[in-house]
């Protein structure tokens, strides 16, 4: 796959279709991939990588990049195309300035999950069927591939590219996933249990803003949490209220716009399952206002910018699930 992508990139650079390529650059170790922009075939040959660790969603970079001179080539995984579509719909990117090549993804690995097994000194990672072989300075280790799979890929919602100018490989389908299982599990807990669950999780938050800054839906020119006039600005959560406040507002501001790309949870240094908050909104929207997938198209009205006269009342919250 990597060869096909590299040769496509070089071809499109050479024929002048694009003048830049956004993709991934290899790092110091087997897994520390950085999104990067390549301007020449030489740069691509030297550093371009597409492998099991290229999970970073590059769509958000296109907000800036698509406003620059010339067209940029973006290699997008299926989930990334939803993000781009949503950005297109909200006029955040200049779609005409982007040449999208859809690339398949059969799930990415998460180095943190390997390390959580106590495996350290990693010098190489290799897939061997369902087994993952990990070379370390302390000898070779193995683990099932599935256990190292990134959480966001384990609950993949679609293998279909919703926007592209060209595809490498076959396009996939929207798939049914169990992505709402954990939300449902929480819904079925008692209020106290839910409260305890979230206190335990959100108290870990160090307000590094990685979840916000990586989120392709969070592209505000000036985030309310940075704006001293907004009344909610803060740099670090001084207490539990501010932890809740930040995460409620963050999730609310992307409600109906979040494509469920899973980046927020991937980047959280404290492993807080932030995607559950987003998924709660998605689940509510789906069940109360009809199935809606943000980013699936560029024309539909976002659920929170829309209404019907016979929408349910807010009191439905009192009538559902466990108190």
């Amino acid at each position: 796959m990597q060869e096909a992508i590299i040769s496509k990139a070089k071809q499109l650079l050479a024929d002048g279709t694009v003048n830049r390529v956004i993709g991934w650059k290899k790092g110091e170790f087997a897994y520390d991939i950085t999104p990067a922009i390549f301007e020449s075939a030489e740069e691509i040959d030297a550093d371009f990588v597409y492998d099991d660790f290229t999970s970073a969603n590059v769509s958000k970079y296109l907000v800036k990049e698509s406003k620059k001179e010339g067209k940029i080539l973006a290699f997008l995984k299926p989930c990334d195309t939803y993000s781009l579509n949503q950005l297109t719909k909200e006029h955040r990117v200049n779609r005409e300035n982007i040449y999208v090549v859809g690339i398949p993804s059969d799930g990415k690995l998460d180095a943190e999950k390997i390390k959580a097994k106590g495996i350290t000194g990693i010098t190489g990672v290799e897939k061997d069927g369902d087994t993952l072989k990990i070379n370390t300075i302390y000898g070779e280790e193995t683990m099932p591939v599935a256990e190292a799979m990134s959480n966001k890929c384990l609950s993949c919602k679609s293998r279909k590219h919703v926007t592209y100018d060209e595809l490498i490989g076959e396009d996939g389908e929207v798939i049914t996933s169990d992505r709402f299982d954990m939300v449902e599990k929480l819904e079925n807990m008692t209020s106290q249990e839910r409260y305890d669950f979230w206190r335990n999780e959100l108290s870990k938050c160090i307000r590094c803003n990685a979840c916000r800054n990586v989120c392709p839906a969070c592209t505000c020119e000036n985030c309310v949490f940075n704006n001293p006039d907004s009344g909610v600005e803060n740099k670090a959560a001084a207490d539990s209220f501010e932890e809740n406040m930040f995460h409620i507002i963050r999730a609310f501001h992307v409600a109906g716009r979040c494509t469920d790309c899973g980046e927020c949870s991937r980047v959280c240094p404290q492993n807080i399952p932030l995607h559950l908050l987003n998924r709660k909104f998605i689940k509510d929207i789906n069940s109360l206002y009809g199935e809606y997938q943000a980013g699936a198209d560029t024309t539909s009205k976002a659920p929170l910018n829309d209404y019907t006269q016979d929408d349910c009342e807010a009191s439905i919250v009192h009538e559902r699930g466990v108190e």
Binding site: T34, A56, K115, I122, T123, I206, A210, K235, A236
Partner: protein, 339 residues
Amino acid sequence: MLKISLENLGRLFDAVSEKQTLYIPTDREDGAAEYRKYENGMKLSRNLNTLRSAKDFFFPQTENLADFKMEGKKIEVIDIREESEDFVVFGVRACDARSFTILDKVFLSEPVDSYYKNRRDHGTIVTMACSKPAETCFCGTFGIDPTAPEGDAACWSDGESVFFKANNEKGQAFIDSVAYLLEDGDTTKLDEVNAKTKEILGKLPLANLSTEAFGGDTLMEHFRSEKWAELSESCLGCGTCTFVCPTCQCYDIKDFNTGHGIKRFRCWDSCMYSDFTKMAHGNIRNSQLERFRQRFMHKLVYFPSNNNGEFGCVGCGRCLSKCPISMNIVKVMKALEVK
């Protein structure tokens, strides 16, 4: 050397925590290690390092500085400072131990930061030697020996026992307070462990990383480097690297209106944030490039230039594993090295 068997370590913790608050690294359900206040039965983490550094105990993320009481049009300032209670932080790795040398230079030089000093005076740092460094470790680059950690007192494990040694009076007092639990022990096996660790250190992927190209006299050369644009273009501008960093010490001071008064507090700031050093007139570092450059220039150039060549990084590797897009100081150093 005084030692205690591994299975009796819990008794030592119990003894310490009876007299003062004890923090030890312990495993969370997700496998990551974090410092928690010791309670009976709590297990010491086997992880190399904690997710957040020991810095938090001396320089917490948010801290109240003063209160203002408002009644109608009257304002009264209330000094809320209190003498800290004694506490012990156990299991600090050599890299984090060194971070206090760096933080002390900032907070204990005049004007002394009384909040930080208060905690430093009352906190005892008991370090622990490493035996299984990770691929992200590069403390050696900054002359740190993970088998000989600094701190008030240090300890080593040979797999069966934990050996203790004091590095100063405070450390000695700590050891004395638990001396009745310790016994003299043979360090032959421990020496072997340390030798083996040193051997591994030489084999680490970042073993050859050097600071040669950096330091105070390289300022303008690096500042003007064209590499910053490329290096910073993927930076998301989040604060992960700064907040997991044991040496980052920037903070912001803010007022919070509680409705019945004002709480003036400080909280960590990050040079990666768009409003970092934003002042009344605006911001002097308006682009992510400038802010990104600030972080690494500070650690590799400005800090050594102001502190006799001491670098502002200890090679703990936290930012290497935690950066969402895997951009880090090692990549920066390697890129800038190349002329």
